[in-house]
Amino acid sequence: MAAKKMFGAANASILVTDLRRSFDDGVTRGYEWRVTQLKKLLIICDNHEPEIVAALRDDLGKPELESSVYEVSLLRNSIKLALKQLKNWMAPEKAKTSLTTFPASAEIVSEPLGVVLVISAWNYPFLLSIDPVIGAISAGNAVVLKPSELAPASSALLAKLMEQYLDSSAVRVVEGAVTETTALLEQKWDKIFYTGSSKIGRVIMAAAAKHLTPVVLELGGKSPVVVDSDTDLKVTVRRIIAGKWGCNNGQACVSPDYILTTKEYAPKVIDAMKKELETFYGKNPMESKDMSRIVNSTHFDRLSKLLDEKEVSDKIVYGGEKDRENLKIAPTILLDVPLDSLIMSEEIFGPLLPILTLNNLEESFDVIRSRPKPLAAYLFTHNKKLKERFATTVSAGGIVVNDIAVHLALHTLPFGGVGESGMGAYHGKFSFDAFSHKKAVLYRSLFGDSAVRYPPYSRGKLRLLKALVDSNIFDIFKVLLGLS
């Protein structure tokens, strides 16, 4: 096994130069190349699923179903969609022209940005690496992927498979941590796509600013769940559980972070949750194989600290068991922790679920609005008016009513944040657009030149210009006929 080479500034510079040469040579521009690369990614999904599942079990203790469905299947769908739609996506879009530019025709042409950098995260290491890469390749870019070092088996497997299958003159993987990422960020990229924390998002954007590099930042936040008493409680609770503990054990950017409900309804919610949690994970959830573990001891300690805080530890109404050696924390529910506690001040990203109670449900909107904008906000209710108000007044990356997280799987909806939860969006065609420059093209005729455009300027020209601006045919004629 070869020793890992140090990757520093010089390596980063050579890497970018190489890829830029490939891009300038036109390697990535053609439809055929893009399709070939996408098909290779599909082969990776089809032929290497067991290895991917194994790597995810190593890195995260992820259950096979989650790996298979939330990483591989989602990727497979994403690739197939791109293959099916690519010709459409690549076609220029006609644009309308107006009287002021007549005679002319206009269109918008999608062109690749050039050489792009995708920095991925550890919680869905395959999905969050390859999905953006699908966008980058579909749009015709050369791309460097830096997977997260906190999921080392996945990172190594990604590097191996991508080198094996994809065109390394234009697609590369750089493994590593802070040193390597810093070296990469010093280079000039044509776009940077980052998935991770808001803290590092700032670092990425500041580095990008030096080169005027546009960015997509898929960050996170505390995604609230508002539970109305006018709902189907069993379905609600099952979806919350599946969306929280069933998705990487709460370590997902759109994980339900905390629940808001009325004082009256809370006991019912808690009882229903306890019941369904037992149905899903048995009487001894620490032994259940159906949940990912906590990724590493740093995060375990972080979550421990959230639970151990004074005024919080006595609010546990279910769970709370911890096992540091096996990096497990039981599904834990807390009731009415203080708003200024640590657990309510940072994105939990773990299997802890605070429930906050209010006198009436409307107050939940104010609670949410007083906090940084999250990536997702959820509401469970039958009440149409409440749904309307929620959708229009709560600002978040995306809003989901009566379900959790599924909007991730919908390629017809843009997936991205706002404010602290990020900027830009992707999935489906939005991925293609995220990695494209939409170039405006105007075709004008050399006939039909109006003296109005040129000096020397005069009142008559001014009147004609005014009429043109108003696109008022009558005024134009009047001026031309000298009647005005």
Partner: protein
């Protein structure tokens, strides 16, 4: 500056309060504000033209064509289209998710900052303002201190017409901008140089504020004499208009330099000279139709560009400078060295280098050695050349057989790429520029699928795999027990 700091904080507080009140969400309010901008421009045409004349020596016809007319048209389009723009976009969801619904709604970012420029101080302030208001934001405009009369007009008149709790103007220079940039905004829109663009983006990165940067570059103009010689008169006029007819070459989309085959260069020059005379007479300084240079410093910069002895030697027309009168004569250069300063920075003045090539195809290679410009212009009827230009170069936009007029086509996005900028606006793109596209998904509480929930088993895994592949028939077989 302490006073300014307090003013900024107080303004922000008031704008955020106004935004939170929901007043700017109403389409009626937005249309009323945009209508007020329209009225303000119409009522004060003379004052505005006078201010522009004082700041830049702009003739009122040029002022109308490039500034007032643009704003009037932009306001009209926004008012007429706002209802359509604000309609949610419905998305089709896959059958698996039936009866779920998906849509995307445009919501305002919140409180936004517009940093304007001095060369088109009215349109580059009011046009983004219209976009910000149309999208429902509260907005603070900082006008440029280098166009003091226009800035004073805006600072004095906007409060008389618009909702002062939602729309504010601050005058000042870099020190005021620095104070503004220390605060958190929900969006920043900047028009100016790439150098300051970097500073703006770096400041925005501290708060994860999305930015639109309308920057500049050297906009090349290819003249393919072979295929347009029949219309050469129009071509020459358009080039001359694109260089000297709009703010004396101080526009982000001005013709920066021309590329033409060596054998045709002198006939081009021979046609440009009388064209200049027809525009500005014998003494352009006294014509009243040629804008001034912004400040003495800008004149000195242009002077310095011309002082390079090799550049001096290339002057074939003009070259005189009157620093007192802020005047630089319309100047033509023939083949200044490609490594001279004037060929490596955006000229932003009335100096036109003509660069000759042996074969017009070579012009593409020259363009590619420079940063991506805001616009590329090409006068040609050669379809092959057009295709090569479109696919081998990158720029904000490409216009064939004309210059500058893409600005008037509001169905085309106006913005740069690479060094020439991030983001775009005009027409609906202005509305989108200041909006967060929020995805909304609504699921149904009925129709719950057991396969969604733990404990996991092979049946559920197979079910979900098939569901993701939308293999509905196989799914039915599975459920009927007819498939393993």
């Amino acid at each position: 500056m302490e006073g300014m700091k307090e003013t900024v904080e107080e303004s922000l507080r008031e704008m955020r309060e106004t935004f939170a009140s929901g007043r700017t969400r109403s389409l009626k309010w937005r249309k009323a504000q945009i209508g007020a901008i329209y009225e303000m421009v119409k009522d004060n045409e003379d004052k505005i033209c006078s201010a522009l004349f004082q700041d830049l020596g702009k003739h009122s016809t040029e002022a109308f064509r490039d500034e007032l007319g643009v704003v009037l048209r932009s306001a009209t389009v926004a008012i007429n289209s706002l209802d359509k723009w604000a309609v949610p976009k419905h998305s089709n969801l896959p059958l698996l998710f039936y009866p779920a619904k998906g849509k995307v709604i445009s919501e305002p970012y919140g409180t936004v900052l517009v940093l304007s420029s001095w060369n088109f101080p009215i349109s580059l302030s009011l046009d983004p303002l219209i976009g910000a208001i149309a999208a429902g934001n509260t907005v603070l405009l900082k006008s440029s201190e280098l166009s003091p009369n226009a800035s004073a007009f805006l600072a004095k008149t906007i409060p008389a017409y618009l909702d002062t709790k939602a729309i504010k103007v601050i005058e000042g220079g870099p020190d005021v901008a620095t104070i503004l940039l220390q605060h958190q905004w929900d969006k920043i829109f900047f028009t100016g140089s790439p150098k300051i663009g970097r500073i703006v983006m770096a400041a925005a990165a501290q708060h994860l504020t999305p930015v639109t940067l309308e920057l500049g570059g050297k906009c090349p103009t290819i003249v393919d004499h072979h295929t347009i010689s029949k219309n050469i008169k129009s071509v020459v006029k358009r080039i001359a208009g694109g260089k000297w007819g709009s703010c004396s070459g101080q526009a982000c989309i001005s013709v920066d330099y021309v590329l033409i085959e060596k054998s045709y260069a002198s006939s081009l020059i021979d046609m440009l000279k009388p064209t200049i005379k027809s525009f500005f007479g014998e003494n352009p300084k006294e014509s009243g139709c040629l804008s001034k240079i912004a400040t003495k410093q800008h004149v000195q910069r242009l002077s310095r560009l011309l002082n390079d002895p090799r550049v001096q030697a290339s002057i074939v027309h003009g070259g005189s400078i009157d620093e007192e009168k802020l005047y630089v004569e319309p100047t033509i250069l023939l083949d200044p060295p490609l490594d001279s300063e004037i060929m490596n920075e955006e000229i932003f003045g009335p100096i036109l280098p003509i660069i000759t090539v042996r074969d017009i195809q070579e012009s593409i290679g020259i363009i590619k050695t420079k940063p991506k410009p805001l616009a590329i212009y090409a006068f040609t009827n050669d379809e092959n050349l057009k295709t090569r230009i479109l696919s081998e170069t990158s720029s904000g936009s490409v216009t064939f057989n004309d210059v500058m007029i893409q600005y008037m086509c509001d169905a085309l996005p106006f913005g740069g790429v690479g060094e020439s900028g991030i983001g775009r606006y005009h027409g609906k793109y202005s509305f989108d520029c200041f909006s967060h596209e929020k995805a909304i998904m609504e699921g149904s509480l009925g129709m719950d699928l057991e396969a969604r929930y733990p404990p996991w088993n092979n049946f559920k895994l197979t079910f979900i795999r098939l569901a993701f592949r939308e293999a509905y028939f196989k799914l039915i077989l599975l459920m009927l027990g007819l498939k393993r």
